[in-house]
C-alpha cells in the first residue's frame, strides 16, 4: 500500500469502522432487550425452574434451537422480506443489523439461561422464604446473582456478532466487511483487507477486555 493509497483509504476505513460499530451496537442493544427476557423465560419454565412448564419450555427451546442452527448466510437471505419490513431496505448497515439481531437473540438467550441455572437454589429458596413474588425473585434475586455470567455471555455474543458483520458486509451489508471485499478482494488491494482484519482484531480485543473487566467488577465472590 503506497502512502498516497493510505490517504485515500484512511477516511473510508474510519467510516467503515464506525459503521461496523454502529451495526453491532444497535444489534447488541436489541439482542439484550429481547434475548434477556427470552433467556429468563427458558430458565424459569425449564425443569426445576420457578414455574416449570414442559409445553412452554419445549416450544421456546425448539424455536431458539432452530434459530441457532440455521447458518448465518442462509438466515440473512431467508429473512429478507422481514428485513425489508423492519428497516425498509435490504442493503447497507441497517439492513445488516436485522439478521444479525435475529441470529444473536437465541444464542444470547441460551447463555442467559445457563447463567441463571448456575444461581444457587439455596439463594432462590431464601428469597422465596421471605415472601418474594415470582417477579421479585427474577428481578431481585436471579438476574442480579447471575449478572456477572450474563455479562460474560454478552461479551461472547458481541464478539461473535463482530465476526458476522464482516460476513454480512461481504454481501452488501456495509461496514468493514464490505470494504474488505469490495476493495481488497475485487480490486486486488490486499493491503486494505489486512488493515480491516487488523482493525477487527483490535475491536474484538477491546470488547473482550471491556467485557471481562465489567464481569469482574460485578462479581463480588
Amino acid at each position: 500500500m503506497t502512502g498516497e493509497g493510505w490517504d485515500r483509504w484512511a477516511p473510508e476505513l474510519w467510516q467503515a469502522t464506525l459503521e461496523t460499530l454502529a451495526i453491532v451496537g444497535i444489534a447488541g442493544v436489541v439482542t439484550v432487550l429481547l434475548g434477556l427476557p427470552l433467556g429468563v423465560a427458558l430458565s424459569v419454565t425449564g425443569p426445576g425452574g420457578l414455574t416449570p412448564s414442559r409445553t412452554v419450555s419445549r416450544v421456546l427451546g425448539a424455536v431458539v434451537d432452530i434459530g441457532r442452527s440455521i447458518p448465518f448466510i442462509i438466515l440473512m437471505i431467508a429473512i429478507v422480506p422481514f428485513t425489508r419490513l423492519v428497516v425498509g431496505t435490504t442493503i447497507g448497515s441497517s439492513a445488516a443489523a436485522v439478521p444479525l439481531t435475529v441470529a444473536a437473540i437465541p444464542f444470547f438467550a441460551r447463555l442467559v439461561e445457563a447463567a441463571l441455572r448456575e444461581v444457587s437454589p439455596g439463594v432462590v429458596d431464601a428469597g422465596a422464604s421471605m415472601g418474594a413474588s415470582r417477579r421479585q425473585l427474577i428481578v431481585k434475586v436471579l438476574v442480579p446473582e447471575a449478572l456477572p455470567s450474563i455479562v460474560a455471555g454478552l461479551t461472547v455474543t458481541v464478539v461473535a456478532m463482530i465476526g458476522y458483520t464482516a460476513m454480512a458486509g461481504a454481501v452488501g451489508g456495509g461496514g468493514l466487511g464490505e470494504l474488505a471485499v469490495s476493495y481488497g478482494y475485487h480490486r486486488f488491494e490486499t493491503g486494505v483487507t489486512w488493515v480491516t482484519v487488523a482493525i477487527l482484531v483490535v475491536v474484538v480485543k477491546a470488547v473482550q477486555t471491556a467485557g471481562d473487566l465489567c464481569a469482574r467488577r460485578l462479581s463480588h465472590r
Binding site: G122, D125, S129, G131
Partner: protein, 327 residues
C-alpha cells in the same frame, strides 16, 4: 403457639414413593426455643420446609396461633411467609449484595420505604455486632459473620417465628457457641419463637427449652430438654451419657438397674438411702451427671443383690428417680 398436626409428606419418585414425614405432631409454645433433633435423612429439613411454607405437606396441618397456614396460596401465602424468618445451614446470602443490601432485602420485598429500611438495617447490624461490615460483601466475611448476617436478614421483617435449619452445622465449635448465644438473645430480648433443627445434641442442650426427636419421619420422643436427657433410650440421653451404652449389663448373678435422676432428685443422696434401706450391696457400673438447661441430670447403672431389688427400686422411685431393670 405452633401446632404441627399429623404432618405427612410423601415425595413421589420414579423408584417409588419416599415417605419423608409419617404423621408428625409437635407443639412449640410461643416465645420458646424448640429443637428438632434427628439423624441425617430423618426428615428434619422436610419438616422445616413445611413449616416455612416453602413446601406443601401431603396431609396434616401447620397451625400458627390456631390458623392453618399449610393451605394458603397466592398473596396470602407470600404474606404468611414474611411473618416467618429463615436461617440456613449454607447462609444463602446474595453474593451480589452487600451486608446491608442482604439485610434490607426482606424489607424491599415487603415494599418498605428506603428511609425506614436504612434505619432498620443499622439496628439489626448493631444487634448482631456487624455494624462495621455494612458495606462488605458476603465473600469478604467469615462463616460465623455470614451467619450473623443471615440471622439479621431473617429478623428484618420482624417475624414472630424464626426457623433455623442446621444453622451452625457449617461452623466450628467456638463460632457455633457465639451464633447459638445470639439466637438465645434474639429469643430472650425480642421474644421471637425459635425452631431449631440439628443433628448435634450440644445445640439442643445449650439453647433449646423443648425438643422433639425425629426418627424416620416420626417423633420418637418429645418434651422439655432436661426431661428427654433423663429418659434412657432417647437419642439425647444416650448421646449425653455414652458410657451407659458401653457399660456391662452382666451383674454376676445380681440384678442390673438403670437409674436416672432429674432436678431435685439428682441433688438428694438417694443412693445411700437405698443402700441403707436394703442392707445389701449396691455397685455402680457406670454413670454420670450433667447440667442441662440449668437442671442437673444424672444416670447410673448399678448392680444390686436380687433379694434387695424390689426394696431398692421402691426407695429410689419414692425419691423421684426413674428405675428400669436391664438384667
Amino acid at each position: 403457639m405452633i401446632s404441627i398436626r399429623e404432618l405427612r409428606k410423601v415425595y413421589p419418585t420414579p423408584t417409588g414413593d419416599v415417605v419423608a414425614l409419617d404423621g408428625v405432631d409437635i407443639d412449640v409454645p410461643t416465645g420458646r426455643v424448640a429443637g428438632v433433633l434427628g439423624r441425617s435423612g430423618a426428615g428434619k429439613s422436610t419438616l422445616l420446609r413445611c413449616v416455612s411454607l416453602l413446601d406443601r405437606p401431603t396431609s396434616g396441618s401447620v397451625l400458627v396461633d390456631g390458623a392453618d397456614l399449610s393451605g394458603l396460596s397466592g398473596a396470602d401465602l407470600l404474606a404468611a411467609r414474611r411473618r416467618i424468618g429463615n436461617v440456613f445451614q449454607r447462609f444463602n446470602l446474595l453474593d451480589s449484595r452487600t451486608v446491608a443490601g442482604n439485610v434490607a432485602l426482606p424489607l424491599e420485598l415487603a415494599g418498605e420505604p428506603r428511609s425506614r429500611r436504612a434505619a432498620r438495617v443499622d439496628e439489626l447490624l448493631e444487634l448482631v455486632g456487624l455494624s462495621d461490615k455494612k458495606s462488605s460483601y458476603p465473600a469478604q466475611l467469615s462463616g460465623g459473620q455470614q451467619q450473623r448476617v443471615g440471622v439479621a436478614r431473617a429478623l428484618a421483617a420482624r417475624p414472630d417465628l424464626l426457623l433455623c435449619d442446621e444453622a451452625t452445622s457449617a461452623l466450628d465449635p467456638e463460632t457455633t457457641r457465639s451464633v447459638l448465644a445470639l439466637l438465645r438473645r434474639v429469643n430472650e430480648e425480642l421474644g421471637v419463637t425459635i425452631v431449631l433443627i440439628t443433628h448435634e445434641m450440644d445445640v439442643v442442650t445449650t439453647v433449646c427449652d423443648t425438643a422433639a426427636i425425629l426418627e424416620k419421619g416420626t417423633v420418637a420422643a418429645s418434651g422439655p430438654v432436661a426431661e428427654l436427657a433423663a429418659t434412657p433410650g432417647t437419642m439425647l440421653s444416650d448421646g449425653l451419657f455414652p458410657q451407659l451404652g458401653a457399660a456391662d449389663v452382666a451383674g454376676d448373678g445380681r440384678a442390673v438397674l438403670d437409674v436416672s435422676f432429674l432436678g431435685d432428685a439428682a441433688d438428694r443422696p438417694l443412693l445411700s438411702e437405698a443402700i441403707r434401706a436394703t442392707d445389701g450391696d449396691v455397685t455402680i457400673l457406670a454413670g454420670g451427671v450433667e447440667t442441662v438447661r440449668g437442671s442437673r441430670v444424672g444416670r447410673l447403672r448399678v448392680a444390686v443383690d436380687t433379694t434387695a431389688v424390689s426394696e431398692a427400686t421402691k426407695v429410689l422411685r419414692t425419691g423421684g428417680a426413674r428405675v428400669e431393670a436391664v438384667a
